[in-house]
C-alpha cells in the first residue's frame, strides 16, 4: 500500500507552562482520504495539526508526511502540505492578491507561475473582485476563503483545515463543502479537517478520529460509527398540550415542551407501537423529526463517557492519596 499521507506515532506535547496537551497520539491518514478530527474545545486538535505544520514544537513522537519524517527533512515535507489555520493569520493591511502571491513566492514559485494560479483560485473561491482590496476589509467568511486560496497556491497533496467553516453561513458552508469535495475527488488531494459541526464530518468525511483530553478515543470510518448507533431520538409534536408524558412499557419518553415529546427508539423497536398507544390515549401526533444529528449524539455520549472516566480516575487518585 502507498505511504500514508500523514502518520503520527506517540505524539506528545507539553506546553511551556507545563500543560500536557497531547498524551501520545497515534494517527494514520491514507492518501486520498477525507478525514475528520473531532473533539470538544481544548481537546488538542489544533495542537496536533500545529505540530504537523511546524507551528508547534512537539515534545516527543514521530510525524511523517507522505513518508517524509519531519525531523529529517521538514522542508521537503512542507511542500506537500497546505494549511488553513483556525485563526486568521495574514497581514490585514496587505492586498488579497499580494497575500496569495507572496505565499507562492515562499515556496519558490515565480510571479509568472503564480499569477494564473492565483487568479483561478480567487475566482473559484469568489474573491477575484476583492483582489485589490485590503484583507482587513473582507468579511469573516471571505477571510477563511482567502486562507484556503493561499494554502492551495503551491498545489499541496495534503490539505489541513482547522475549523474552515467556523462562522460561515449555511449557504456559503455548503458551497465550501462542494469545493473541498471537488479538490478531494478531482485532484486527489488528501484532506484533514477539524470541525465542531458534526453534520460537516458526516456529509464530507470518510474516516474520523475523535480526540478528547489529548488522547484519541476513537478512530474509525464514519459509516461504521453511524452503524453502531443503536438509539435514535425523535421529537413528536402533538396536536394538544399534555400535562405529563405518557408512560409506555419499554420506551423512554420525555416531555420537551407542553406539546412536544422526545422519544428514544432502540434498535429493533417499532415506532408503530408507540403511535398506537398514543392514539389510544387520545394524543395526536401532527409532525415528527429526528433530533439533532445522529453523530452529534454519539459524540456527546462518547465525550461524556471520557469525562466520567477522568472524573473517576481523579476520585481514585484522591482516595489513593487519602
Amino acid at each position: 500500500m502507498a505511504e500514508p499521507a500523514l502518520s503520527i506515532r506517540g505524539l506528545t506535547k507539553v506546553y511551556g507552562n507545563g500543560f500536557q496537551a497531547l498524551k501520545g497520539i497515534d494517527l494514520d491518514v491514507q492518501q486520498g482520504d477525507f478525514f475528520a478530527l473531532l473533539g470538544p474545545n481544548g481537546a488538542g486538535k489544533s495542537t496536533t495539526l500545529g505540530v504537523v505544520c511546524s507551528l508547534v514544537q512537539k515534545s516527543e513522537g514521530k510525524v511523517s508526511i507522505f513518508g517524509i519524517d519531519i525531523d529529517k527533512d521538514f522542508a521537503k515535507a512542507k511542500y506537500q502540505l497546505g494549511v488553513v489555520p483556525q485563526e486568521f493569520n495574514f497581514n490585514q493591511f496587505e492586498k488579497v492578491l499580494d497575500i496569495v502571491l507572496a505565499q507562492a513566492g515562499y515556496y519558490g514559485m515565480t510571479r509568472r507561475e503564480a499569477l494564473p494560479r492565483a487568479e483561478q483560485l480567487l475566482r473559484d473561491l469568489g474573491l477575484w473582485d476583492k483582489r485589490n482590496g485590503n484583507a482587513r476589509m473582507l468579511s469573516g467568511g471571505m477571510k477563511r476563503r482567502l486562507m484556503i486560496a493561499r494554502a492551495l497556491m503551491h498545489r499541496p497533496k495534503l490539505l489541513i483545515l482547522d475549523e474552515p467553516t467556523a462562522g460561515v453561513d449555511i449557504e456559503l458552508r455548503r458551497s465550501m463543502w462542494e469545493y473541498m469535495r471537488r479538490i478531494n475527488q478531482d485532484e486527489g488531494t488528501t484532506i484533514i479537517l477539524t470541525t465542531h459541526y458534526l453534520e460537516e464530518a458526516e456529509s464530507l468525511c470518510r474516516n474520523i478520529a475523535i480526540i478528547n483530553h489529548g488522547e484519541i478515543v476513537r478512530n474509525t470510518s464514519v459509516r461504521e460509527l453511524l452503524a453502531e448507533l443503536d438509539t435514535e431520538t425523535f421529537l413528536l409534536d402533538l396536536a394538544e398540550p399534555v400535562s405529563q408524558p405518557p408512560v409506555i412499557e419499554g420506551f423512554e419518553i420525555t416531555q420537551v415542551e407542553p406539546s412536544q415529546l422526545a422519544l428514544v427508539i432502540h434498535r429493533g423497536q417499532q415506532l408503530n407501537d408507540v403511535f398506537s398507544v398514543l392514539s389510544e390515549q387520545g394524543m395526536q401526533v401532527v409532525s415528527m423529526r429526528n433530533r439533532a444529528n445522529r453523530l452529534e449524539e454519539m459524540f456527546v455520549s462518547m465525550v461524556e463517557a471520557g469525562n466520567n472516566a477522568i472524573d473517576k480516575r481523579a476520585e481514585l487518585n484522591k482516595e489513593a492519596q487519602a
Partner: protein, 257 residues
C-alpha cells in the same frame, strides 16, 4: 528548495518588506528627512557658524556624516523590529513558518529589507544635506562599505529585539534607552578629543562611536580611532549576531510554542 526557488523566496520576502515601508512612507521615510533637515538648519547653519571648526572642518561638514549614520542606524533597526514584530503580532509569521523556506532565508529577507530602508533614508538625508553644504567624499568605497555593514548590524539587532518582544512597548525600549543615547554620545555632534581623558576612555566603549568615526573618515579623511580595527569589529559583530538570530529562529524562540 533548489537555488532558484531559494532566490525566488528571498526576493519575495525582500520585495514585500520594501513594499511595506514605502506604502507607509509618511511614517517611515518622511519624518527622518524632516528631522535631519532641522538638524542641518539649526546646528549646522545657525549655531554651527558660531561654533567654528571641529577637527579642522566646518561644523556643518563635521556633523553631516554623523547625522546620516544616525538615521541609517535608527531606521535599519526600527524597520526590522517593527515589521517582524507586527508579523508575530498578526500571526502572519506563520506564513513563513509553514513554508519550506530555510530560516537563513527568512532572516536574510528581513535584514535586507531593513537595510533597504536604512540605506534609503541615509540616501535621502544625504540629498537633503546637499542643500546646506558641498559634500566631499575622500574614500568612497570605504564610506559605502561601512554604512552597509552598519545597516546590516542594526537590522540584525532589530530582528533579535522583535523575536524577544512580547508587546509593542518591547520594541521601543532599546531604541529609546540604548540606541539614542549611544548615538548622541557617539561623536555625532562633537569630536571626542574635546572630552577629558576619562570620558574619552568611556566613549571608546561605545560601539556606535567607531561606526560614526569610520564613516566620517570616509567623507573627510580624519578619524578619532583606527579605521581597520573598527571595520573588523563591526564585521565580527555582524557574524555573531547573525548566528545568534539564526539559532533563536531555529529554536522557534518567541514564535513557536
Amino acid at each position: 528548495m533548489n537555488a532558484t526557488q531559494t532566490l525566488v523566496a528571498l526576493w519575495t520576502l525582500v520585495l514585500k518588506e520594501i513594499k511595506r515601508f514605502t506604502r507607509i512612507w509618511p511614517q517611515t521615510l518622511l519624518p527622518p528627512s524632516i528631522t535631519m533637515a532641522m538638524y542641518f538648519i539649526i546646528f549646522g547653519n545657525l549655531i554651527g557658524s558660531r561654533i567654528g571648526d571641529m577637527d579642522g572642518f566646518s561644523y556643518m561638514d563635521f556633523i553631516v556624516p554623523g547625522l546620516i549614520m544616525m538615521s541609517v542606524i535608527t531606521n535599519s533597526y526600527s524597520n526590522v523590529a517593527s515589521s517582524f514584530f507586527s508579523n508575530k503580532f498578526q500571526r502572519s509569521v506563520e506564513e513563513l513558518m509553514v513554508s519550506p523556506m530555510p530560516n537563513w532565508v527568512i532572516l536574510s529577507g528581513f535584514i535586507l529589507g531593513g537595510m533597504a530602508r536604512g540605506l534609503g533614508v541615509g540616501l535621502i538625508v544625504t540629498i537633503v544635506s546637499l542643500f546646506f553644504t558641498r559634500l566631499t567624499v575622500e574614500h568612497p568605497l570605504l564610506t559605502v562599505l561601512v554604512v552597509v555593514l552598519t545597516s546590516a548590524l542594526f537590522s540584525l539587532g532589530g530582528f533579535i529585539n522583535a523575536l524577544m518582544a512580547n508587546k509593542f512597548d518591547d520594541i521601543s525600549i532599546v531604541p529609546t534607552f540604548i540606541l539614542t543615547p549611544l548615538t548622541y554620545l557617539g561623536g555625532v555632534f562633537y569630536s571626542i578629543s574635546m572630552l577629558p581623558n576619562f570620558w574619552q576612555g568611556v566613549s571608546m566603549l561605545n560601539p556606535i562611536l567607531y561606526m560614526v568615526n569610520v564613516f566620517r573618515y570616509g567623507f573627510l579623511g580624519v578619524s578619532d580611532i583606527p579605521v581597520g580595527w573598527a571595520l573588523t569589529a563591526i564585521f565580527a559583530f555582524i557574524i555573531v549576531l547573525f548566528f545568534v538570530a539564526l539559532t533563536m529562529l531555529e529554536r522557534g524562540k518567541g514564535i513557536r510554542s
